[in-house]
């Protein structure tokens, strides 16, 4: 089983005349017919068709609180990829083996609006995978201490339903989804509750604080304390190049992607490389980790700016 590697997919599709066929051809036509040679010509100059250098991510923006009816929400755009995350809290009885912990339910949806390949009868294959990846990362990074979601030990605790909707799928879906989940949690305001006479926990609006509050209630609208926050960066590997933050077109042409998730203490939460034609060497993995560290600082700044903008308003 000697190692014999053939080059990427574009060469066979375009035929050997990829470069020389019809010497004058429109750029858009060339991009559609021979996508891989088109990209490789750009990579030789260390740039991408949208004029980004190889290691730069797209412009990212975070808006907190777009959904007024949810307890916490955020809208994140990385380039054209748009994610809307919303959290609703509900009181429920905690399970017997964890009586003083609340719980989280994380769900990722890709409605047909996000991409032409998703139709109502044909759900996207990546949606359950990203959903599971998100819950794994959020739970294992221990960003949220479930004990903070507890109300009355053994009787009442918060169940947080986090729903993330992809509104536009243009590559790096996991990165945008994770950022929107974190932004929604930092925006989350836990509502006031009080114990009614028949032992039920009911919500209380901020003005009616004359009634007796028993000590186990939240004293003021509280924010969750987020511990080590995870940030991620997806990179695409192609021959010797590493492209950070790919668009959907880049992901479909060069199929090897590696997602690195680091938390704020620079520990590795996850390295996710699900196969792909290019083999990652140790040096490549190290470079991706360095790129993720840079990206983490950018994202921390963006998140802090949007949080302080919220507080001013």
């Amino acid at each position: 089983m000697a190692a014999a590697s053939t080059s990427g997919s574009g060469r066979d599709i375009g035929g050997s005349g990829g470069g020389s066929a019809a010497g004058e051809m429109e750029v858009e036509a060339y991009r559609r017919l021979f996508p891989l040679p088109f990209y490789e010509r750009h990579l030789l100059d260390s740039v991408r068709p949208d004029a980004r250098p190889l290691h730069r991510a797209r412009d990212t923006s975070v808006v907190l609180g777009p959904v007024a009816s949810a307890d916490g929400s955020a809208l994140v755009k990385i380039g054209d990829t748009t994610m809307l995350a919303a959290i609703k809290l509900e009181v429920m009885t905690p399970s017997a083996d964890a009586p003083d912990e609340g719980s989280l339910a994380i769900e990722f949806h890709m409605p047909p609006i996000c991409s032409p390949i998703v139709r109502p009868g044909r759900p996207a294959e990546v949606a359950p995978v990203i959903s599971k990846q998100l819950s794994d990362v959020i739970v294992s990074s221990q960003m949220i201490n479930l004990k903070e979601l507890s109300l009355i030990s053994g009787k009442a605790a918060w169940m947080a339903y986090l729903d993330i909707y992809c509104l536009n799928a243009d590559g790096s879906l996991f990165d945008a989804a994770l950022l929107s989940a974190i932004a929604a949690f930092s925006h989350l305001q836990i509502p006031l509750v009080s114990l009614s006479d028949d032992g039920k926990v009911v919500a209380v609006s901020g003005d009616l604080l004359e009634d007796e509050s028993t000590p186990e209630l939240v004293n003021k609208e509280r924010k969750l304390l987020l511990h080590s926050i995870p940030f991620s960066l997806t990179c695409i590997l192609h021959k010797k190049y590493i492209l950070a933050d790919p668009t959907a077109e880049e992901e479909s042409i060069m199929e090897t992607s590696i997602t690195v998730v680091l938390d704020s203490s620079e520990q590795l939460v996850s390295i996710y490389k699900p196969g792909g034609p290019v083999l990652a060497q140790t040096s490549t993995v190290k470079d991706c980790i360095v790129l993720t560290k840079h990206r983490m600082k950018e994202l921390q700044n963006i998140l802090e700016e949007s949080l302080s903008a919220m507080e001013v308003v």
Partner: protein, 246 residues
Amino acid sequence: MGAMTVDRADGRSANQLRPLACSRNILHRAHGSARWSQGDTIVLAAVYGPKAGTKKGENPEKASIEVIWKPKTGQIGKLEKEYEMILKRTLQSICLMTIHPNTTTSIIVQVFGDDGALLPCAINASCAALVDAGIPLRHLAVAICCGLTEGGSVILDPTKAEEQKIQAFAYLAFPNSPLSVLPSVPSAEDDGPIENGIITSVTHGVMPVVDYFNCLERGRAACAKISEFHRRSLESQVPGDLTKAT
């Protein structure tokens, strides 16, 4: 990381794998099949293909691979979908996709026993089944699970009980080491031998970056042993009935 000896429940040392067993050509109607077991984790993989036609949405100029994961108990949920996707992309990287365009090869993975390291066991079983079916491959994918204990030491091939206790673990797949007839020429690219590249890496749990690279080192060394075992088991069995395809 130091000479700490780790106490494992079944008495293995940190670097010791569970007993491996591989048998091929078990199912007679499938074009290829293999059963791979690592201790109590047992997976049966069956390969049907290449069959004519590709699914809608797949590129017809290349062959395509379809993976169906059947758990031992319970309904198919997100975990099974994730494993299907990881297995599909891992196998796509080892198969030669341009030889039979517009065909589909289906791999059905049935879990018989899950005692830790389930995904690596499935990857190994699928590769053995692909070889049994005669699908042309670039190289094999050899997979292993490396666990990281709190002390920072790496244990190989943890059982399910160990996986739940340890801080973090990683499923890693590497290409197998090639055995070439010609004397090897030093490669001009200076990438290192091919078996150092990572095909697949899936981690669970938080770990320091340094420990991840330790896991990679240990994983590579162990995969060299597994790849030896693979080669011996493929050579020793007489090729099955050659008339059974199509």
